[in-house]
Subunit: 276 residues, 2 copies
């Protein structure tokens, strides 16, 4: 498969996954309340310098805010970033495609979640991504099942993946100034640049694992009643989510500093937040 | 006056100003509704390495959240920060005292405000600080009167202060990724290390100017009724405040990265925030 075909295949997969995820979330909304169920609104955007993407946002009854974005962009890294990106020091041109989602459920008993997979091309090519769960009210079964789904996706491909990528996730989603993790983790991987077919197959399986497990966790809790205290606790925990994303998240800071689409980048931020 | 006396004088002034500001805000609460008016809660904290401070927080009817903190701390800068702090490269010891406040009113028609003044001692000594206004619903008269109060404090001391410190404020409180200012500005000054008596007198006058003008702006609007749309707009504008503080504010990031008191540093964050 030539390089252009690989790019097309990857970008097409991210879009197809986006469609399936949006359909799955809309199906949950319709199941929760069949009366005029809310749908995703899609908003395309163009990137000055090359490419663009589509933001998808659902403001529903189960999902207070679900943002599911895809983008395929290309151009040249500015001088200050070339040294930081593998393969960009000798040639600043890049191409990147990916899907990124963050879901903030209304109920504090339904966990928030993040998932992202991407394919990068400079003079090197690699896949990256992962998914991590942020329960507001901890639930051992949810945490166990979420980890198990990601572990199953990993072990199909490489016995070292799960322990490595789980550790990477725990280290990455860590709020240093609070000395606490953002949530209960999951997996995080980057610079996966072995056999293209195998890496792509693994990346697809991470998406499939997310699609299999997250809707199940939502259905498990979406009809449970919650207390005002739990809602207030959720709003405060969302504040920690904001602190992580704005202070530490590489993708957020990189995007904001390189003139990325602010609306798409900050779609990760929760709709209703409180600090004490 | 010897160096120790200067430190004591400065620290004592910051505490006295804190007392007067807290009393002024509590008086507004009592005026707004004499029924069991809310009071500031004070919480002292110790700093490992030397010194400490007192957080003061008011959760009221007019002031949804007002945080007024004083601290006096000392110790040694870690190696990575020595080069960044005037006078700390040859000797890492420092002493610092200051007052810092952020007020988030409940009404979207009452402007939010920030004020801070501080005295720093390394092998050099200097004053810094400023105040800036963040109206949620712009009001020309408020903006004009706030700027005029700070200008009056400046012109008493030096004809160059106001234009320089106003520009510094506009440049400092700028949300780059949004290409917008945090609010309508005010003044910002730092590294003021001329004549100690004069610099201290100016710093005191900045505090006095704040104390004279801000309560007047609050009283001007606190009984006006607002709409749900204005409240929603306020919650969204507060999100911009969070973006600035967590991504750009030097003091916030420096504090979080040097093991400062997280609760005191993040007292600036609003109590009820929304992202779209």
């Amino acid at each position: 498969m030539n390089d252009e075909t690989k790019k097309q295949e990857a970008a097409r997969w991210f879009e197809a996954l986006r469609d399936r995820i949006c359909a799955a979330l809309e199906a949950i909304e319709a199941e929760f309340d069949p009366q005029e169920p809310p749908r995703f609104a899609r908003k395309p955007w163009q990137r000055e310098g090359g490419g663009g993407g589509t933001m998808g946002i659902l403001k529903g009854r189960v999902f207070e805010k679900a943002g599911v974005n895809v983008s395929t962009v290309w151009g040249e890294f500015s001088p200050e970033f070339r040294a930081q990106i593998p393969g960009a020091d000798s040639d600043p041109r890049f191409w990147a495609s990916g899907i990124s989602l963050v879901i903030h459920p209304r109920s504090p008993l339904v966990p928030a979640v993040h998932m992202n997979t991407r394919y990068l091309v400079t003079t090197k090519t690699w896949f990256g991504g992962g998914s991590d769960l942020t329960p507001m009210v901890p639930d051992e079964a949810d945490t166990r099942d979420f980890h198990a789904a990601l572990e199953a996706a990993c072990v199909k491909h490489d016995p070292t993946y799960y322990p490595r990528f789980k550790k990477w996730c725990d280290e990455y989603f860590f709020i240093k100034h609070r000395n606490e993790t953002r949530g209960v983790g999951g997996i995080f991987f980057d610079y996966l640049d072995g056999d293209w077919e195998k890496d792509f197959a693994f990346t697809r399986d991470v998406g499939e694992a997310f699609l299999a497990i997250y809707p199940a966790l939502v259905r498990r809790h979406m009809r449970e009643t919650w207390t005002d205290e739990q809602r207030q606790h959720q709003r405060m925990r969302r504040g920690r989510y904001v602190e992580f994303n704005l202070i530490y998240d590489r993708g957020t800071l990189f995007g904001l500093k390189t003139g990325g689409n602010v609306e798409a980048i900050l779609m990760s931020l929760p709709p209703d937040v409180s600090w004490p």
